[in-house]
């Protein structure tokens, strides 16, 4: 039958005064089609009910279950144990605040990010319930959706060298988010207004170009292309501002 798997899991409950950060080992018999979702739930239900981790949709759609799996950030729900060695090391994502064990607070981080980039359509238009919709080119709609597919799992942020060095770096996910509004004809912000948001080391100029964000993105978003597109576009704005002075 299957292998016996050894899970080395980071444990720490900040709410328990006696808890100290440590690695704990759990063993489990591997079954067919086992994913980390199945394995972690079995460990919690059969061995240690206090083990904290996040899953929601368990189908790669919601982004809840990102963690560092044998050194690499990724979604636990679609990680199959048969693709991993007998010994599996699981640690929580860095950068985000730890809630306990493998669970981190991505919600607060992302809410702050989308408030910062004002992640909504900026327009003066008032909705008229009696009117038909404004037409839009289908190709543009599809292009917007391609960037809208981010699930805010945080893998790209956790894998980002700059994000590990400075707390205020918005990361690939924020630039991708803003890029979605840059191409949306409904959003009336000007390039100069976008520059205000990302034209600094917190935004486009902080990136060291290590490419890890795109490597680990479970949705295969074109994060580096997006960054270079915005850098070029914002570069023009920056030059214009220099010559204005």
């Amino acid at each position: 039958m299957g292998r016996q798997l050894k899970f080395k899991i980071f444990r720490f409950n900040p709410q328990n005064p006696e808890s100290v950060p440590r690695m704990e080992v759990f063993s489990l018999d591997e079954t067919d089609s086992m994913t980390l979702f199945i394995a972690l739930n079995r460990i919690r239900e059969e061995q240690d009910g206090s083990l904290q981790f996040e899953f929601c949709c368990r189908a790669g759609i919601c982004g809840s279950c990102a963690m560092v799996i044998n050194g690499r950030p990724g979604l636990a729900c679609h990680t199959k144990t048969k693709d991993l060695p007998d010994e599996i090391t699981l640690t929580p994502l860095p950068v985000f605040e730890l809630v306990g064990d493998l669970s981190v607070d991505t919600g607060s981080w992302f809410r702050e990010m989308y408030n910062k980039v004002e992640s909504w359509v900026h327009t003066d238009k008032v909705f008229d319930p009696t009117a038909i919709e404004d037409p839009m080119d289908n190709a543009i709609a599809e292009e917007i959706y391609e960037l809208d597919r981010c699930v805010e799992c945080g893998s790209c942020v956790a894998a980002c060298g700059t994000a590990r060095l400075r707390d205020d770096f918005m990361g690939a996910t924020a630039l991708n988010r803003l890029g979605r509004f840059v191409i949306d004809p409904r959003d009336k912000r000007t390039d100069a207004e976008y520059f205000e948001v990302i034209g600094s080391d917190e935004g486009i100029f902080g990136c060291m170009g290590l490419l890890a964000c795109e490597d680990v993105c479970p949705k295969n978003l074109p994060l580096m292309n997006q960054l270079s597109y915005l850098r070029r576009k914002m570069g023009v704005v920056a030059l214009k501002q220099i010559f204005k002075k």
């Binding site: 409950n13 709410q15 328990n16 808890s19 067919d32 089609s33 994913t35 979702f37 199945i38 919690r44 059969e46 009910g49 206090s50 083990l51 904290q52 996040e54 929601c56 368990r58 189908a59 790669g60 919601c62 982004g63 809840s64 729900c77 679609h78 199959k80 693709d83 809630v99 306990g100 669970s103 607070d105 991505t106 919600g107 607060s108 992302f110 809410r111 989308y114 408030n115 909504w120 359509v121 327009t123 909705f127 319930p129 038909i132 919709e133 404004d134 037409p135 080119d137 289908n138 543009i140 709609a141 599809e142 917007i144 959706y145 809208d148 699930v151 805010e152 949306d184 409904r186 959003d187």
Partner: protein
């Protein structure tokens, strides 16, 4: 204990909850959404297909209007729905789709010119019109007379939810994520908010509000095999039932999908069977043609799920560490077809199962999919029994789905109902003042703290919550599934009553510090078992077959005796059965009961005079 005061408290931050919050915030009220997970992880994100609204822009939707949408919805419900609500829904859906358009949803649009589409494995041509260029387009979904489902590629729910959450951020709606509501604050007449437990620190927080809304989605996780997200566990439904005065409507109406993959119960599309995929048993032999000689695998969703269950009962299921299942075979369709037209299926199989469907069989079983039942409300979304309590979305029994809901109607319902009920809450609050009984807040919080302390100390016993939960799920899977009989349901109810006794003596095996997941599970288990009893006992009493509710011993739809909605109350906390009452399915019938047009079935007419 921290106490937070708002005009409106919304429990749940999916599409229904956030849509209502946007309505409240837009009217200048303060609103907060509580959510177990960050808002954007809500189960609304998982709906890929789309939202039904009779816009009629696509050439295949020509001639569509809200009357046709209404008729499809009522037929789909097997005449179990509230027709006033179905009318309200169909009429409002197009407006809501256009509003979402303004808020930023990148709906797929009409592209003029010729294109091909497939139906029943055959190819057809269509030509979209120039004058409709760039308007919201639609795709085809089962059970509808016209192409009516608005969509954003394969991520409609995701895209709409992100847009809605953006809108809420813009309007200043607060979302308190990692917060779990565990009890309503109420005095038997009025609801004043809820006690929540922080899933960061474990502390209790009182949320006090003039209006409270339950928008927590379905409760599929009371079943073992469910397509629902793990947060769809019925925790808040349990809290609503615990009030003793608010009924849950039509809890026996549960929809099952034929092809959830084993073990993780993710859906693979019916398109597999549409394109020629077959179902095989433990001997790798086809069986659907035995039961449905004409349509075989292509019979309707509920029919296929029924025969699959029947066949497994005959001992033809495939044993696995995760329970019995059957096989879906699409190997003969070839690599090109599977990685092209069925790419999503290919990706699910390879990413989540490690199965290559080009050369290997896919393990599948009928899986709980949607809860038509929920918190019973009137057409304004106001819950029965408590002033100031509202509900919308899958959490509610509003009731536009009756006994079976159509694809694309659930996601549309979230925003349509969220908008309508949100506006009704604003209207309700206009002249509404209430005296907040602070003693009630303290009392409710103290009672919840006592429950927590008792579970940690093991005062009531040491039953393991995960084992109790498994016993509940097994009982439902066995007795209140696709097929139902007097005998099976009686046994299910008796088993669940025993499980209820065990649920009342759960004690923690671990320390319960902070966000303890074991404590979360323990706090909701008694409520979950009560929900399970509402499902099973309601199904036992309903001696007919309607929509998704299939009684083998009562195969006819009986409009004479059962054109009704079940209301399940839990009147005393110590009861071991719900109290069932009934009301008419609809206050008025715009469309008289008739044939659904699929799934051959005998109908006992409401006009027939003979005794049963």
């Amino acid at each position: 204990m921290q106490t937070i005061y708002k005009d409106v408290l919304i429990i749940g931050a999916g599409l229904a909850g956030e849509r209502a919050a946007a309505e409240a915030a837009g009217a200048g009220l303060s609103a907060v959404c509580l959510s177990i997970v960050p808002a954007r992880r809500s189960h609304s994100a998982a709906a890929m297909g789309g939202m039904q609204a009779a816009l009629g822009n696509s050439v295949m939707g020509e001639g569509d209007n809200t009357d046709v949408h209404f008729a499809d919805t009522v037929k789909g419900s097997d005449w179990g729905c509230d027709q006033e609500v179905a009318r309200l829904f169909a009429d409002t859906a197009p407006i809501e789709m256009r509003r979402l358009c303004d808020w930023g949803v990148p709906w797929n649009r009409v592209v003029p010119g010729k294109s091909k589409y497939f139906k029943g494995g055959k190819q057809f041509d269509k030509e979209e019109k120039e004058e409709k260029r760039g308007l919201i387009t639609a795709r085809n979904f089962g059970g509808t007379a016209k192409w009516r489902t608005c969509y954003v590629s394969d991520g409609t729910g995701h895209s709409v939810l992100y847009t809605m959450d953006n809108r809420c951020a813009q309007l200043g709606v607060e979302v308190h994520d990692k917060s779990e509501a565990i009890a309503l604050i109420q005095d038997g007449k009025t609801c004043y908010g809820a006690i929540a437990r922080s899933l960061r620190t474990g502390e209790l927080i009182a949320y006090v509000a003039k209006a409270t809304m339950v928008a927590t989605g379905g409760f599929g996780k009371i079943y073992k095999a469910s397509t629902n997200a793990v947060i769809c566990d019925g925790g808040v439904h349990g809290a609503v039932l615990d009030t003793g005065v608010v009924p849950l409507g039509n809890m026996e109406a549960v929809q099952f999908h034929p092809t959830g993959i084993v073990p993780t119960d993710i859906l693979v599309t019916e398109g597999c069977r549409g394109d020629g995929g077959t179902l095989l048993d433990v001997n790798e032999e086809r069986f659907m043609h035995i039961y449905e000689p004409d349509k075989a695998e292509l019979a309707s969703r509920d029919v296929v799920a029924r025969w699959m269950t029947h066949h497994m009962r005959l001992g033809k299921g495939v044993p696995s560490p995760y329970g019995e299942h059957l096989w879906l075979d699409i190997r003969h369709l070839g690599e090109k077809h599977i990685t092209g037209k069925l790419r999503e299926v290919y990706e699910i199989c390879t990413s989540f199962l490690g199965v290559d469907p080009v050369t290997q069989l896919i393990p599948v079983r009928p899986t709980q999919h949607y809860s038509m039942g929920g918190v019973r409300t009137n057409k304004d979304g106001a819950a029965y029994g408590l002033k100031g309590l509202f509900s919308a979305g899958e959490a509610a029994c509003w009731d536009m789905h009756g006994f079976n809901r159509l694809g694309g109607n659930s996601l549309a319902e979230t925003v349509v109902a969220g908008g309508i009920v949100g506006a009704k809450i604003v209207e309700f609050l206009k002249d509404y003042e209430c005296n907040i009984p602070t003693a009630e807040i303290t009392k409710t919080a103290a009672k919840q703290q006592q429950r927590i302390d008792d579970m940690i100390s093991g005062k009531n016993g040491n039953e393991n919550v995960y084992k109790v939960r498994e016993a509940m799920q097994n009982a439902l899977d066995k007795g209140a599934h696709v097929f139902r009989t007097e005998e099976g349901l009686t046994e299910c109810v008796e088993t669940l009553q025993d499980v209820l006794r065990r649920a009342r003596s759960v004690g923690l095996q671990t320390d319960g510090y902070g966000a303890s997941p074991e404590l979360s599970a323990a706090l909701k288990i008694e409520g979950q078992v009560k929900l399970a009893l509402c499902v099973a006992y309601g199904a036992l009493q309903r001696r007919e077959s309607r929509g998704s509710h299939n009684r083998e011993d009562y195969p006819a739809r009986n409009d004479r005796d059962w054109l009704t909605r079940t209301l399940a109350y839990w009147k005393n906390p110590d009861d071991d059965l719900p109290t069932l009452e009934y009301e008419d399915a609809s206050p008025s019938f715009e469309m008289p009961p008739g044939d659904r047009g699929y799934g051959k079935m005998q109908i006992i007419s409401a006009d027939s005079k003979e005794e049963s």
